[in-house]
């Protein structure tokens, strides 16, 4: 595991770069986020300073990968399968955009509970995507 990577701005390197560390966790099937050592703010997308308090004491934490749909929109390109793009509020307190696949009723609704999985495509880093939980 890549846990306990802490890097202040002076030790920024290709190995400790926030996006790189996120991808290393993703390769292990973990949705990681940063947590501010000073103000405890959950931080996403990854960066080198806390957008809340300005501290560069950011540590990595694994998310449980569970959250709820904050908002959602269905996009139906001509000649292709429709898909749902949503904003997910993770239980740890950060928000991210993702794709959500629906439950048995076929729809994604605001406030639906969702769980992460990782989609693999070619040489791209594993991509966190979500599915509506059957019951929670």
């Amino acid at each position: 595991m890549t846990d306990n990577v802490r890097a202040d701005v002076e030790s920024l390197s290709p190995e400790t770069a926030p996006g790189t560390v996120f991808d290393r966790y993703a390769a292990e099937g973990v949705l990681a986020y940063q947590s501010c050592g000073d103000c405890r703010q959950a931080v996403f997308p990854p960066r080198v300073l806390c957008p809340s308090c300005g501290s560069d004491d950011l540590g990595w934490e694994p998310s449980a990968g569970r959250g709820t749909v904050y908002s959602a929109t269905v996009i139906a390109p001509r000649g292709k399968e429709p898909y749902t793009v949503a904003l997910i509020d993770l239980d740890e307190g950060f928000r991210m955009m993702s794709i959500v696949t629906a439950g048995d009723d076929g729809a994604v609704a605001i406030d639906d509970p969702v769980t992460v999985s990782f989609r693999l495509a070619g040489d791209e880093p594993p991509l966190p995507v979500f599915a509506v939980e059957a019951d929670r």
Binding site: V74, A76, R95, M97, I110, D111
Partner: protein, 389 residues
């Protein structure tokens, strides 16, 4: 709010405005040609010469360094240049920056200008900047900008019971205003049902909930209030403005139902010494139908969550209780990628009383509100005639 910022109230005025050719200008005409056309027209309106211009304010997605490219084409060597790039709101921001620069003696005559041939270029939006920085949204293929505004609309519907019919009312009101504006790109009849039954772009927004994709441009000339009084057109005084930006990406917007217009509007009202109840005519950046609903709430024309009800039953259409987007807006008049310059131009024409069939009855005080990015940048300006000083 500093005393210095407060003291800018009414110190500068808009003395010339003009649109370039609008709609679909056809192949061979460049965005720079539209910038030149608008500049010539606006200077003529102001009774000034190009040699009077010593401040240049512009932004564009067509050039990497918009100020440099524009200055070269126009043959202007500005002693003050401002390329503030906050998307479509940039040009409302430029207004306030010009007022500050003029007051500080950094320039005397400011040209704010924009031109775009995005429609003739293939009908797609021209995006600013190269994607050299990783996006945490692009891998999920949202249709930006439409999906960002769709997410805001969906959340507003969930929290406040706003309906698709109410969103459609915004588009229908814009169309009714457009029918009074000979320069509007689309003028055919449109009903709420027409909007609802149109092709869905990104739910809950159909193509009729989305702005036009047109060519177009415009220019605005700003100078000191003293100099403005010796020029031919009635000055539109810049009474106050506020700029606010809280995020760039829609996934980072703190609350999808409250925009930074709440902050920009509060500051603009405070400087101007007026409130929403005083405003005669309102020009809001309507890239999507959810925008005017959010901005009417955040700018204090109704309470949070009541925007949908507020726009219903023709309330913002011609003859309604509040004239909003009197040129037909980005939804039915013109939306050349960035719309901000055009809402300033319409506000000035209304203040002067020269808006023809769409002229509102009371026209001393106008509010022009620009939006940029994905509900990201919000800039509010309050303009008034001589009686409001």
């Amino acid at each position: 709010m500093s005393a210095a910022e407060r003291s800018l109230r009414g110190r500068a005025a808009i003395v010339g405005v003009a649109e370039s050719s609008l709609g679909e200008v056809g192949p061979g005409i460049s965005s720079l040609d539209l910038i030149g056309q608008a500049t010539v027209r606006a200077l003529a309106d102001a009774g000034l010469s190009k040699s009077d211009v010593d401040g240049l304010f512009t932004h564009s997605a067509f050039f990497a360094q918009p100020v440099l490219t524009t200055a070269e084409y126009l043959g202007i060597r500005p002693r003050f240049a401002d390329g503030t790039a906050t998307g479509g709101s940039s040009f409302v921001g430029h207004l306030w920056h010009a007022a500050a620069a003029i007051e500080a003696g950094l320039c005397e005559v400011a040209l704010i200008v924009y031109g775009s041939t995005q429609r003739s270029h293939g009908g797609g939006l021209v995006a600013s900047g190269a994607a050299l920085t990783r996006s945490w949204e692009t891998p999920y293929a949202p249709r930006i900008p439409a999906s960002a505004y769709a997410l805001a609309a969906a959340r507003h519907m969930r929290e406040f019971g706003t309906t698709r019919e109410q969103l459609a009312e915004v588009a229908v009101a814009a169309r009714q205003w457009a029918k009074l504006n000979p320069a509007a790109f689309v003028q055919d009849d449109m009903t709420v049902d027409d909007v609802l039954s149109s092709r869905m772009v990104s739910s809950p927004l159909t193509v009729r909930d989305c702005c036009l994709v047109t060519d177009g441009g415009g220019a605005v000339i700003v100078t000191s209030a003293e100099r403005a009084r010796n020029l031919p057109r009635p000055p539109a005084y810049i009474l106050g403005a506020g700029e606010a930006t809280w995020h760039m990406n829609i996934s980072q917007m703190p609350d999808l139902t409250t925009t930074a217009a709440q902050e920009s509007g509060r500051r603009a009202y405070e400087i101007a010494g007026f409130g929403p109840q005083d405003i005669d005519v309102v020009e809001l950046y309507d890239a999507f139908t959810i925008n005017p609903i959010l901005f009417l709430e955040d700018l204090g024309f109704c309470a949070k969550g009541e925007g949908g009800a507020f726009v219903s039953d023709g309330a913002i259409a011609p003859g309604g209780s509040l004239p909003v987007n009197t040129n037909g807006g980005g939804l039915s008049y013109c939306h050349p990628g960035m719309y901000g310059i055009l809402l300033v131009i319409e506000a000035v024409r209304q203040l002067r009383g020269e808006a023809g069939d769409r002229q509102v009855a009371r026209h001393s005080l106008a509010l022009a509100h620009g939006n940029g990015g994905t509900l990201s940048s919000q800039v509010t300006a309050i303009l008034g005639d001589e009686s409001t000083l």
